[in-house]
Symmetry: D2
Subunit: 346 residues, 4 copies
């Protein structure tokens, strides 16, 4: 039984880790930290957990956390990087759901997160935790940087096209939309029910922090530079990310069903990627609460622009579920363990 | 491994049975029927099931259904009663989620459902499937009438008060609210997103079909007649039932904490009833997708009217989850098997 | 043209006053205050106002406010009572949307609002601004205490029954539900979209601040003491209050249509009360954005408990619209001026 | 006072016409038709209208409709074209909210709407009712083809760029999202609350009927062919359309503020187009219930792709409001008459 610690358990990715791990056969949460809620039982903060676990928030203590086999960081950026080096030194593996280790270039990271990275050397050892691309590296990794929610939805949709050099990497366009839970559990007027219900808007249009992360990883898939225009939007719903991706075909002679076949082959061994039949449209509700990513391909009016649609649950495949998928790989467990719950629909 | 058949699998209780049974260790759905969707795979109708099961809708055939160990009816009323006698004769156990066997008085049933009951003799053998009151009878039952969603939420909240004769049974008032999924998956203008979103209303105020069912069962608990004013309301949300119940204390001298203790004792062995601390308020989202019923007690301004609050997921504890809880008891399985998933929150 | 000032314009009742007054033929907002947003234009905070008005928030200054014909307080409690006396002394009329002048007993007010009332003498001169009961007093009032949102919905539903002594005033029960905008525009985790969406709960069950206000006014209508059990609930929608009211008939021989006729007569001259046909159910969306209150009557199963349903928009008839209705009466304008916009449906 | 007739009054654009015209100083609805609801009063179908008008649905009769000054068609396609010729012959002006007269090429229309156009000659006389481009023609028009909802949001966002030849017209990409009311008031499972709530999806990706309409009008603005990839999405909200538009700059040397200035100049006289400050993001709720279109411009990362955002209420500027704006121009009334209500926010 893996002993699991969670740092920063009062947010939505924290409670989602608790929900998913509560049914995991080989992992047990033994420690969950929160300075603000120290001593409070988790089910007092999250009544959905009542009767399921007997766990209290404790003040984060690296010594104690180091007694765990693996520690998840469900924290804002700039927290993990201050504790990870000591945990790794103690032999504890780390899965960071925050942005601290996602961008390999420390200077680029600083530009977007307005902090100086405190451990660039450790950063260099982090493995980017997208199992559909890095499964091998993940198995032997000591430190995992879990992909952001948007980056997960976008990469799974574009990777096959870029790996096979089917589209122009310099003019990619992504219009994506997220449920409000992506904004976290913070008391801000912008996140009030009254401010978001029955409304839709774009945000971060000028530049969203997930842009450099996406471009970095897509460049690896394309084996060359990529240019992306990325526009996130906010949906009046709690969970779900949907990405609508546009790419120019390099060779318009390639028929769509050939590309469909390519996607199916690329993800044949990926238990959490569902390449839907041609003509399908992924709905976020069909992945709500599940670790699945559903993808569909289009070539509108048979013109030269491909449209790829993908949908995930931002809190599961976009965060806590993917983190557990990484844990499973790191510890030689079945990739799907604890992640087989179906989406809640309706 | 129990062989399970589902009659009427195209509604929300049908797909919820599939979701919950997909993780059940001792039961497997081998047959699911629908005349309209005959031959269609279940995941074509419900993409949330993609990759999880390989099952197609078939035309209902009692002979084939009789090869199952247990058959669930997830149908409108007036369907089950026409097939159940033959299934029982063949030795197949039946769990009916519809209203056909809930009301023991066939004439009363006819009055509310505008049909003549075709098998009053079989009706007489049905066990009302509220495990928190009838566990013993359920264990040996051949035919279970699953309680309605409102009746479940209301009975769990009032039963302890009536069993102990703490309140006047003749002047009970219940104001309850349900998510839209309670109305089923039917193409009706009244159920359109545009008709229900950002709105709230009462309905069936003059008399709702769940009224006679509730009064019948509460009378058994009270060992005498009860009088109930029941007002259902429709919520702009998909899942969840919340009941606010008002009852006049017979002896105002009884302190609230004594009643709280009574509830805790009454449900000490009930794995799916959560009597919350005094001062709590159950939220429907804390049971969304789970089989739990959360209850809280109040005595406003220390006057003589008790207020009991209860919350369930109408599709789980109010329907498919409770049906599986009944199946577990009928076949000597752990009561909670396949029902331990936590609520999806947020 | 009436010169209107608004104190506390950054909340939802403030922006609603601006929306409604923007189409008022005889009133113009010349001043709107906010310490926090001093100097900011109103349409920067509320883009829905862009192009419609050129107004900036200023720091509240009683001297300046006193140059207005009428000042609305759209503030939390404990603000108005500190400025009103000076405004009244200067001859400016005041319409307070907060709770400072609603409860005539200063000690009772202190008990519920945990403050000492600073001007009990002025409190004694305030007129309770429910036009359907106090139109005459309102016409000559200098200071109006606008009713709370719940109290408006409840009083309009119960007043006719109590005035005519048709029901037992000692055992009234009200189950009411409100949209989230009733909680105001404050950065609190409890009010986040992620905490309220797709969920329903009761709150303030032990005692809500609107209880003493409702009991005070109902007692005046009943010409004697009333006992009320009041349970508010929170809806996953922005606007709308729905009240479901239960009252025991004193003389069960009185037929429902006689009571229906009584309501129609009672509100024959009330432009904003719609007594619907027997069998109707008011939906909050049918009053969204409008100043209307819709009411329907039931006598379930022809038993002795009457059920009255009422629906209003908490920000209009429950706050800003009713405030303007009061202003119209105070200044001899047509009662409906500026309030004739129809509900937004769908 | 203009005598107004409405054909097909039982849908959402029909009731929205009634809401908006109820406050119009120079127009009165004297006739509203519906075969299905013949004889029913409009406020029975739409309780939000109770107390505001005394009007009943009648069976459509061209002779009677011809007694009106203007007739609005709020019908599905393939209805108006069968009645319009006779109405025009009788001297009645027509404003068609359906698609029958939007596409000038009858063959192209047939290809997308799967019907043969019955009056191509009349089609040739129709004026496309986008006041921001065709005000002059509209003033003298006898027959107006009201733009679709998506086409309105897209054209207002792209027209200035195409008119000034600032972007490549051959590679336009639009990702747009609509509230559910755009799907109309039809009893379809796909439009149920339970199917759409808390979910987001694309639809019509392969080809939406608004594509040829948009390309036709953009080509007129560009004075040359345009190529558009258009992806509509469905939002879990009732009202609102948001378009996110991507266009490649022809001359990257042109600074964004110059383009901003160009937009402000282009729409300086357009009362219903709000070009927001640089850095703003239009939210659909800031136009809910209003006839306004809000637009914002971006040049992400100062690269060569411009992003234009626009938001409208699909039932107002996208349908009924724009229809009234056209009526005002046709009859020499102030363009904003009856359309000055502010958005309902929150």
């Amino acid at each position: 039984m893996l002993k699991v610690g969670i740092v920063g358990g009062t947010g939505y990715t924290g409670v989602e880790l608790l929900r998913l791990l509560s049914t995991h056969a080989e992992a047990e949460v033994v420690m969950i930290t929160s300075r603000a809620e120290e001593g409070v039982s988790v089910d007092e903060l999250f009544p959905s957990l009542r009767g399921a676990m007997d766990l209290r928030f404790s003040t984060p203590d690296v010594k104690l956390l180091a007694t765990c086999d693996v520690v998840f960081f469900a924290t804002p950026h700039n927290v993990a990087m201050n504790m990870v080096p000591e945990l790794l030194a103690a032999g504890t593996r780390v899965i960071d759901l925050s942005a601290d280790f996602r961008i390999t270039d420390a200077d680029l990271w600083s530009k977007w997160y307005h902090e100086t990275h405190v451990c660039p050397d450790v950063l260099a050892t982090a493995v980017y935790g997208l199992p559909e691309r890095n499964a091998e590296k993940i198995r032997s990794a000591k430190l995992i940087a879990c992909p952001g929610c948007y980056p997960t939805a976008v990469q799974l949709g574009l990777i096959p096209l870029l790996e096979e050099k089917l589209v122009d990497p310099s003019r990619l366009i992504v219009s994506a939309a997220s449920g409000v839970s992506g904004a976290g559990r913070q008391a801000k007027i912008d996140n009030l029910f009254t401010e978001l219900s029955e409304s839709f808007k774009a945000y971060g249009v000028g530049g969203h922090r997930h842009l450099p992360e996406i471009e970095q990883e897509l460049a690896l898939a394309a084996k060359g530079p990529v240019g992306l225009t990325f526009t996130p939007h906010l949906l009046p719903q709690v969970r779900g990310i949907h990405a609508t991706m546009y790419a120019e075909m390099i060779d318009p002679a390639v028929p769509l069903d050939e590309i469909q076949f390519l996607f199916e082959k690329r993800y044949a061994d990926a238990p959490f990627v569902d390449v839907m039949h041609l003509g399908s449209t992924p709905q976020t509700r069909t992945v709500r609460g599940s670790n699945m990513c559903r993808i569909a391909l289009y070539r509108p009016q048979n013109r030269d622009t491909l449209v790829v649609l993908s949908a995930i649950d931002n809190l599961v495949k976009g965060a806590s579920g993917q983190a557990i998928q990484n844990m499973n790989l790191m510890f030689g467990l079945p990739e799907t363990m604890g992640l087989q719950g179906l989406a809640l629909m309706p």
